[in-house]
């Protein structure tokens, strides 16, 4: 725990980083949850959208395209 306090109070982060690099097991333990979550996400499979969701997503896609056209009309109106 003294080393943790020393780590916290030290102003030179480069020194701390280089010390940590020599302690891979400590780094591994501290980042265990992080690495486990990353691994879980890497094995995530593609989700098939049901018909209802596909309709919603396509509807929103057409909404965006429609709105971009509306914005272009608005800009054209502003110019003229």
């Amino acid at each position: 725990m003294d080393t943790i306090k020393a780590l916290q109070s030290a102003e030179d982060h480069k020194v701390i980083l280089s010390e940590l690099r020599l302690k891979p097991q400590l780094v591994k333990n501290v980042l265990q949850e992080y690495k486990e979550s990353q691994k879980r996400m890497q094995h995530l499979s593609e989700r098939k959208l049901g018909l209802g969701l596909k309709i919603v997503m396509w509807g929103l896609r057409f909404y965006v395209v429609f709105m971009v056209v509306v914005v272009a009309i608005n800009v054209s109106q502003s110019i003229h």
Partner: protein, 458 residues
């Protein structure tokens, strides 16, 4: 209450026994250093230091969204409508922003993945490409307007355009020179605090504080009622608060920072503090330019520099200078966060290194995109005769119009059992999220009606 998981405690206690001289990479050691400090603060129940360690992504994203076009939108609001309806309305938009951004905290903390990566992994390349096109297109346009703001803010002090663009790029680049997420975050946070400079400007405008309080209770007055101009300002103010890049940035930043599921409450506080600070700055900007409305000044075509000049009789030269500085800061911070969100998304999609804890040599495509979009956006602003005013006009509107699909993906992901496990949305959070999506979609449809059938709103 268990403050540390068993493995975390073992990690903290076991370091004295380390004998291996193997090197670990910079990204892991940087993140481990940050996590050790968090573990130490939590273990010793030092809650304020813990909060200090964990805040960042939420405040950055909210103050970053108070970018140059947003502050100009609020300035236009104050100059055209004065103190009234829009003060509580802007507060409401930040409540909606908090609802959306809180989801990204949980997504990032649980999955340790960025938003773009999750969309691609879960929904495939086809839908991922749609999300990316929206993001990169709106991000680029927004970046151009950030440089417009930087040029306008610096121009108030007599700085030439090309010097302002070059100086802005230099300052932003400097923030990345630390090559640690923590250092970059703290630097940009310090810069982002200058967004609060609009508060003293508002005070110097000597507003009627009674009218300010009255407006929050009554949502009135709304001069002119619901016409085409009001609808455009409404949409622009929504787009000044809720945009797709915020979702991508905060989730990626939460993952890069290394927040864990135990840090979600602090992440929520971070987002709430950010929303509150940004809302106060936004409302202050409206109040600061309200004198222009009171004195019937036509500010509908004003840019940042004109607003600062027009405010001189009401807030003095010093107040106007602070207003211009605020626009400059807004452009600088937002250019930093938006270019980072583009770089994060690119790296996640291409499954390449994408962390601010990595050196330039270790993540060339990530930093290449980051600095590349900055240079191109800055270069566009320097082109003589480029119709920048139209880009400024549409960028906030476009941002809100591209939100509905972004919110849909967000809600699908946060309700995904495989992604979130036991941390998926409750029915209340789903209701709030859907409410935000519906509100934004209806606002967009109202805008479309006002453009296609203008006679309905005269």
């Amino acid at each position: 209450m268990i403050l540390l998981r068993e493995t975390e405690i073992q990690g903290v206690k076991g370091f004295e026994n380390e004998t291996s001289a193997d090197m670990t990479n910079r990204e892991d050691t940087s993140r481990a250093l940050d996590r050790l400090q968090v573990l130490h603060a939590r273990q010793h129940r030092r809650w304020l230091p813990l909060l200090w360690l964990l805040i960042g992504p939420g405040i950055l994203v909210m103050l970053g969204e108070n970018d140059a076009p947003s502050m100009l939108s609020y300035a236009a609001t104050g100059s055209q409508f004065g103190i009234g309806f829009f003060l509580p309305f802007v507060l409401l938009t930040f409540v909606m922003a908090f609802i959306a951004q809180e989801i990204t905290v949980r997504l990032g903390a649980i999955s340790k993945a960025g938003h773009a990566e999750l969309i691609y992994r879960r929904f495939g390349r086809f839908w991922g490409n749609f999300a990316m096109i929206d993001l990169l297109f709106t991000n680029f346009l927004t970046l151009v307007t950030e440089f417009v703001g930087i040029v306008a803010g610096a121009g108030f002090f007599g700085v030439p355009d090309y010097v302002a663009v070059a100086g802005g790029i230099l300052v932003i680049t400097g923030a990345y020179s630390f090559r640690r997420y923590w250092s970059w975050e703290r630097t940009v946070l310090a810069l982002a605090m200058f967004n609060l400079i609009f508060i003293p400007v508002a005070v110097m405008a000597h507003p009627n504080w009674g009218a300010v309080a009255h407006s929050f209770f009554t949502f009135s007055p709304l001069p002119g009622g619901l016409n085409a101009t009001t609808i455009l300002i409404l949409l622009s103010d929504i787009g000044a608060t809720i945009t797709p890049w915020m979702l991508f940035f905060q989730q990626s930043a939460v993952a890069d920072k290394g927040l864990s599921m135990h840090d979600v409450n602090q992440g929520r506080m971070d987002t709430a503090i950010g929303a509150l600070l940004a809302a106060v700055a936004a409302i202050a900007t409206i109040i600061a330019t309200a004198p222009l409305f009171v004195h019937h000044m036509d500010a509908s075509q004003f840019g940042a520099a004109q607003f600062a000049q027009a405010l001189v009789p009401y807030v003095g030269h010093f107040g106007s200078a602070m207003f211009a500085l605020g626009i400059l800061e807004a452009g600088l911070v937002a250019a930093t966060t938006i270019s980072t969100s583009s770089a994060y998304a690119y790296g996640e999609v291409r499954r390449q290194a994408h962390s601010l804890n990595k050196l330039f040599q270790e993540a060339r495509p990530f930093y290449g995109i980051l600095f590349g979009v900055l240079l191109v956006a800055g270069g566009v602003v320097a082109i003589p005769g480029f119709p920048l005013e139209y880009i400024v006009l549409v960028v906030n509107v476009l941002a809100v119009l591209t939100m509905p699909p972004a919110i849909a993906f967000l809600l699908l992901l946060v309700n995904d059992q495989e992604v979130m496990g036991e941390h998926k949305n409750t029915w209340l959070l789903n209701a709030l999220g859907i409410g935000v999506g519906v509100f934004v979609s209806l606002a967009g449809l109202l805008y479309a009606l006002s453009v296609i059938f203008p006679s309905l709103f005269q």
